[in-house]
Structures are given as C-alpha cells and as structure tokens.
C-alpha cells in the first residue's frame, strides 16, 4: 500500500467518525464507560491483592519439635522445610530466645525468679509461605516429618484470604466479558450505520474498480479509532481519580493508611494502560471487521 493511500484511508476513517458523529460519540462514550469500569475494577483488584499479599506475608506456620531432639535433627528438618517450593522464609527460634521474648513481654522483673527455662521444649521454626493456599499441603507434610511434635497454623486466615482472591478474580472476569461483548456490539452497530450511510459511495467505488481492501479499510480504521479514543478517556480520568483518592484517603483516614498500603499510580498504569488501549483497539478492530465482512459485500 502506498503511503498516500494509507493516509487517505486513515483520513477517511476520521471522516466516517465525523460524519456519524452522534453514533460515534455514543460508541466512544460506551466503550469509555466499559473501560472506565474495567480500569476502576482493576485498580481496586490490584490494590486488594496487594493488601492480601501483604497480609499473606504475615501468615506463618510454626513447627515444634519432639522432646530431647538433637540439634542436628533440628537442622535437618530446617533444610527439609527450606527446600519446599511453597516456603518463602524459615526462621529458627531457640528455646532460649522464646523464653527471653516471653519473659520480657509478660513477666518483666518477675522472670528473675526462674532459674531454669520453663519453655525448654519451645524451640521452633517459623515458616512464611509464598502462597497461602498451599498451607494445608505444607502442614500435612510437616506433620509427617520425623521429630516434629506439633504444627501450629492459621488456617482460617489463609482460607479466607485465598477465597476472597479467587472470588474477586471470577467476578471481575465476568464483568469484563459482559462489558467487552457490549462494546463489540456497539462498535458493530456504529460501523453498520456508517456502511448504510455510505452505501452510494461504496457502490461508486465498486464501479470504479476499488479493491475489497480499499473499500473496507476506512471502516476498520473507524472502529479502531473509536476503540482507541474510547480507551484514552477512561485512562485519563482514572489517573486523575486514583491519585486524588489516595491523597484524600491518606489525609482523611490516617489510621487506615498503616493498614491500606496503596500501590503507586505508575505501577497500576504500567499494566492498565497497555491493557486498556489493547482492549479498546482490539474490540474496535474486531467489531468493525466482523460487521464489514457481514454487511459489506464488495
């Protein structure tokens, strides 16, 4: 294709949009609304995941050993645990360290009355997981390890966090699929109106000897442009809203700011921007190409 023809085709795509400006605006607005919801949802989801991940990092499993176990066996157990894929970090606490922490926290000066360590069987490994949903499997394994007396875990927290994560994933996927279907339908409708408005022009083009590609491409460009414009508007608004909401929450609810650790806007947009533009352009292309193939017999 010649450069001049390419520019002509792109210009015609813009002309199509301007010619049906109300329908084009309606399509752009709907795609914007869809992608705005998508963006908003994504921003909430990714921040929630961030909060969950932070919480997950605090979820630990504690392993206590059988009475009279040798230090060597404790080291061996430590090595076995470290090799597990679901384990992110293992911390060893000797009986002395446990007693010291306990006495400082609860007994204070009364601790001096103890000549021996009453918690001498309390040496343990504190295990932090890379994926909380693997906790049950890890616990089952740990319970089968020779020399392990007891495994303490926080199953309720782990299950609840894992469950919310999955639920949010499914809900967002469902909403996104519905929104995309609506957007494709709208783009298809706009392009179809464009085709019917330009029926005479298309006929003339056919008589003069325009190729299928030449006749069809302005409509595909129109769809892509609508999708592109429809993705830029929500990105700009979400950027503005996101930055302001973070500032607002951090200023007004300082108590929460310790709990809610928001992701920086750049991190959210590093994914949201290419995905939104990709979806916008993608549905624009898909909606128009399907319509053009179906309704534009050349």
């Amino acid at each position: 294709m010649r450069i001049s023809t390419l520019f002509y085709t792109i210009r015609q795509g813009f002309v199509n949009i301007l010619r049906n400006k109300w329908f084009s605006l309606a399509s752009i607005a709907t795609i914007s609304a869809c992608l705005f919801l998508f963006g908003l949802f994504y921003a909430i989801l990714i921040n929630f995941q961030h909060v969950v991940r932070t919480a997950e990092e605090g979820v630990s499993v504690t392993v206590f050993f059988e009475e009279g176990i040798s230090d060597e066996r404790i080291r061996e157990i430590g090595d076995l645990i470290s090799k597990r894929v679901e384990v992110r970090e293992v911390k060893f606490k000797s009986a002395e360290e446990v007693w010291e922490e306990f006495s400082v926290e609860y007994l204070g000066e009364y601790a001096d009355g103890f000549t021996e360590n009453p918690l001498e069987d309390s040496a343990n490994y504190e295990i932090y997981l890379s994926d909380v949903s693997m906790q049950s499997a890890l616990v089952t394994y740990l319970e089968s390890v020779d020399g392990v007396r007891q495994v303490n875990r926080s199953e309720i927290t782990a299950n609840a966090l894992g469950g919310i994560n999955v639920l949010i994933g499914y809900v967002s996927l469902g909403i996104i699929v519905i929104l995309l279907a609506v957007s494709i339908f709208l783009i298809s409708n706009t392009v179809m109106i464009g085709i019917s408005v330009r029926k005479e022009e298309i006929n003339i083009m056919k008589y003069i000897g325009a190729t299928d590609f030449f006749v069809r491409s302005p409509f595909v460009i129109e769809g892509i442009l609508i999708g592109l414009l429809g993705s830029v508007v929500p990105l700009v608004s979400i950027y503005y809203i996101y930055t302001n909401v973070i500032v607002y929450i951090n200023e007004r609810f300082q108590i929460l700011s310790g709990l809610l650790n928001f992701l920086p806007v750049e991190e959210v947009f590093s994914v949201l921007m290419p995905v939104s533009v990709g979806i916008g352009v993608g549905i624009g292309f898909l909606g128009s190409i399907v319509t053009v193939r179906k309704h534009l017999k050349v």
């Binding site: 023809t5 010619r19 008589y207 003069i208 000897g209």
Partner: protein, 244 residues
C-alpha cells in the same frame, strides 16, 4: 488454462473489444432479461444501444461490468473472459471501463476536484500525479473553473461532465454510458454527446445506452436495437427504430 484458451479467440476477432456470444440471462422472477444475444464491438467503435424499458439494455451493461453473470453464453471484454473472472480480479478489470450513469452518481459531500480525484485515489495513483491529472481532465470537459464547486451547485449538464471526467481520468479503453442524457435538457444533452464523440475520436470505445431519438438519428453511428431481451436490429450508421 481453460479460461485463457477462451480468451484467445481467433486472430480475425482480435479487434473485437466487446463480445457477447449467445448470451441469455434469466432472473429468479421468471421472464428472461436477455435471450440469445450476440454482439461484437470493435476497438474504437461508437455504438448506441436503444430500446424500451425492459428490453434488456441495463442487463447488458451489468453483464459488461461483471455486476451480473449470464445464465448461459459467453462475455468477453478487453480480451477478458468476464464469466470466469475471479471475484478478486473484478476491481482490476473494472479499471479499464469508464462508466457514466443517468443520475450522475457523484459524491455529494465532495467538490468537483475530489469527485474526480477519488477515481485515481482508489487505484492508488500518487497524490502529486493526481494534482496534475485532475485539472487536465477537468479542462477537457470544460469545468476547469469549477473545481471547488459541490455537485448541488452545478447544473445537470455540469454534473454529468464531472461524472465523465471521473470515468475518463483513469484512461479506460471502453466507456459505458447508461442513459447519459436522461436527466438533461436538449442543449446539455448535445454537449455531452459531443464530448463522448471527441472521447471516441481519441481512441476510446464508447457504448451508449439511450432513449434519445434525436441524438441517435442525428449522430449516424452504429445502432443496436433491443426488444424484450433480443436484438432486433444492428445497423452501421443506423437510426432509432419506432416500436409501431
């Protein structure tokens, strides 16, 4: 290969630019639009096709443009077997045909220049050549001063000149004119016919479908008369045959 064999007709026929060989066309509604029509038109000829409504003139034009295919028989245009022409080759085939309609079929939202340039754009002529070609063709049809006008600002005759300029700018070997004077007054009709004659004298084969008795009788060209889908007369320097 079979198509090629059909294209290469005998050497005595090689000057024929349009050949219809025993062509019949029936629509699904019933009565045949064309029934066993055979015509040969030589390169550089000027031919009138006359006949009443329903005589099959429009079907003939549509067959030549490959808008329709015949139910039986063969159609060759510019040496191309039109019946066997593949869909993807139709655009290139049509670029050798100029077409003018009774209702002009101009793009109403574009000016004269853009309407004519449009024909070059779709065959991907570089813009700098379009800028040279359009004014040249507009001056041939006498519209050099009106290149900025929109179709609705022009008279019927002027609009038909724009359509002619658009049909000619890609230098087609054949010009098909379907009732080109149907919407014009006698003065404009004559001017358009004079232009068509000039175009023909420059080597383009011209086929004009018309009802205009005065023009056909005055111009003394070949006249093919059709009635109810068959050719009832084909005369060199002929005239309009009355129905009665």
């Amino acid at each position: 290969m079979a198509g090629k064999k059909r294209v290469r007709r005998s050497s005595s026929e090689s000057r024929d630019i349009i050949v219809l060989d025993n062509v019949s066309k029936s629509y699904s509604t019933g009565a045949p639009a064309l029934n066993g029509v055979s015509i040969r038109i030589r390169k550089g000829e000027f031919v009138f096709v006359v006949g009443d409504s329903g005589s099959g003139k429009s079907t003939l034009i549509k067959l030549l443009l490959r808008e329709l295919t015949p139910t039986s028989g063969g159609v060759w245009v510019n040496g191309e077997d039109v019946v066997r022409l593949k869909h993807r080759k139709i655009p290139k085939f049509r670029r050798n045909l100029g077409i003018v309609f009774q209702d002009f079929r101009l793009l109403k939202d574009r000016n004269v220049y853009e309407n004519v340039a449009f024909a070059q754009r779709i065959i991907q002529v570089p813009t700098r050549e379009i800028r040279k070609n359009v004014p040249a063709i507009l001056s041939i049809v006498g519209l050099a001063g009106k290149y900025k006008a929109k179709p609705k600002q022009l008279s019927g005759g002027e609009q038909q000149r724009v359509a002619l300029a658009r049909a000619l700018i890609n230098k087609p070997s054949i010009l098909l004119a379907d009732e080109p004077t149907g919407n014009l007054d006698p003065k404009n009709s004559w001017e358009i016919m004079k232009l068509l004659e000039e175009i023909n004298q420059n080597g383009t084969t011209v086929l004009v479908v018309t009802h205009n008795r005065e023009i056909v009788n005055a111009m003394k060209k070949r006249v093919v008369t059709m009635k109810k889908g068959v050719i009832v007369s084909d005369e060199e320097k002929g005239g309009y045959i009355d129905e009665d």
